[in-house]
Assembly symmetry: C2
Homo-oligomer: 239 residues x 2
Amino acid sequence: MAPPSEFSGHTVKSFDDDIAQLRAVITRMGGLCETQISDAVDALVNRNVEAARAIVERDVRLDALEAEAEALAVRIIALRAPMADDLREIVAALKIAGVMERIGDYAKNIAKRASVVAQAQPIGPAVIIPEMARVVIEIIHDTLDAFVDRDAAKANAILTRDQQVDEFYNSLFRSLLTFMMENPHYITPSTHLLFVAKNLERIGDHATSVAEMVHYSVTGQRPAERPKSDLTSNIYSPE
Amino acid sequence: MAPPSEFSGHTVKSFDDDIAQLRAVITRMGGLCETQISDAVDALVNRNVEAARAIVERDVRLDALEAEAEALAVRIIALRAPMADDLREIVAALKIAGVMERIGDYAKNIAKRASVVAQAQPIGPAVIIPEMARVVIEIIHDTLDAFVDRDAAKANAILTRDQQVDEFYNSLFRSLLTFMMENPHYITPSTHLLFVAKNLERIGDHATSVAEMVHYSVTGQRPAERPKSDLTSNIYSPE
């Protein structure tokens, strides 16, 4: 008869394998989100309608990965009946997969708008978009590192970085409004860029909420309230 | 010694109590979302800055209810180790609570913009907003009815109703762009109304995704792909 210690060691190992598999799906979702955002912004800047279409089509992969993460999480819960920390991590993974799928939707929307903007007159403020995207992608990347490493301190350090994204957004909002007022021909492309910027701002916000989930999953404590600096809904005039 | 049947009857009853409690939290979230949206749109139309501020403050209740739903779901999973249908319902409840919290965020954003719009010139296209909100609120209401009744057919019937919201949005997008082109003074209020309309469109989309979750939770099958009719990211000119 096999000694119980070995048997329980086997059980523990299987559970770790399951969790590792779930983490891998989430990491793949994060990597795909980063690519989708980066490619969507490239398509926007380079006015590449073909590339934009490919990004829109690629979004189904994120939907499939979310379904895979959910099926895995449910199987782990059902088979392993995990407790406390383990259960909290699985619930966090489930929620993070949902957020990643949403982030993918925002990237898809940027790609859709890239096709429209490609047909309009190029406008100056668009140059801020790739900078803003770069910050957002870094936040997603570091958040998923914190998730995989179960590193609460790293997750916590991310929480304030969303402010930079909000600052980009506020600045872009103002300059796009000024642009629209200058010339009615700028209104349509500016409106789409406004939505692109808003999509990036939402992605930053979602990624930051993932960092909060990671913090909670690791420590069992919710992080302190983070500052919110999308000021545009409080601004009447754009100057 | 108590007969086993009575004991197992007691266990089953407790589990049902737990689920009922979880359902009640979700229903309260849904009711609060409906109120928040309706009040935010009233504040917008009546240019009531005081009411708008109260709505923004009330959003913390939805955050608290989401945390309560999550704690309850985790406790049920840990204590009861539910299987198959029961587990699927709890996972659905967890996800639905997350979506309701997001819907609350959109309502809060509408309220914030109501304060800004109140300071600007009233513009005509705003009259469509309450109609759009009414449809969105109905979708949330019926979706939560389907959730509580575990009624897959009812959930399925909701999936196409989001198209009406998208049609409102497309129509509003076009008329707001036309407005902005007519007079630069309309640009700021029009931009905020565009975001309000987009918020309502997103709420409709989120509520519909809840109907999909209900369908999946009851049947174990994902519903057929639903049509998407926010056409504005595919439209270059607003006419």
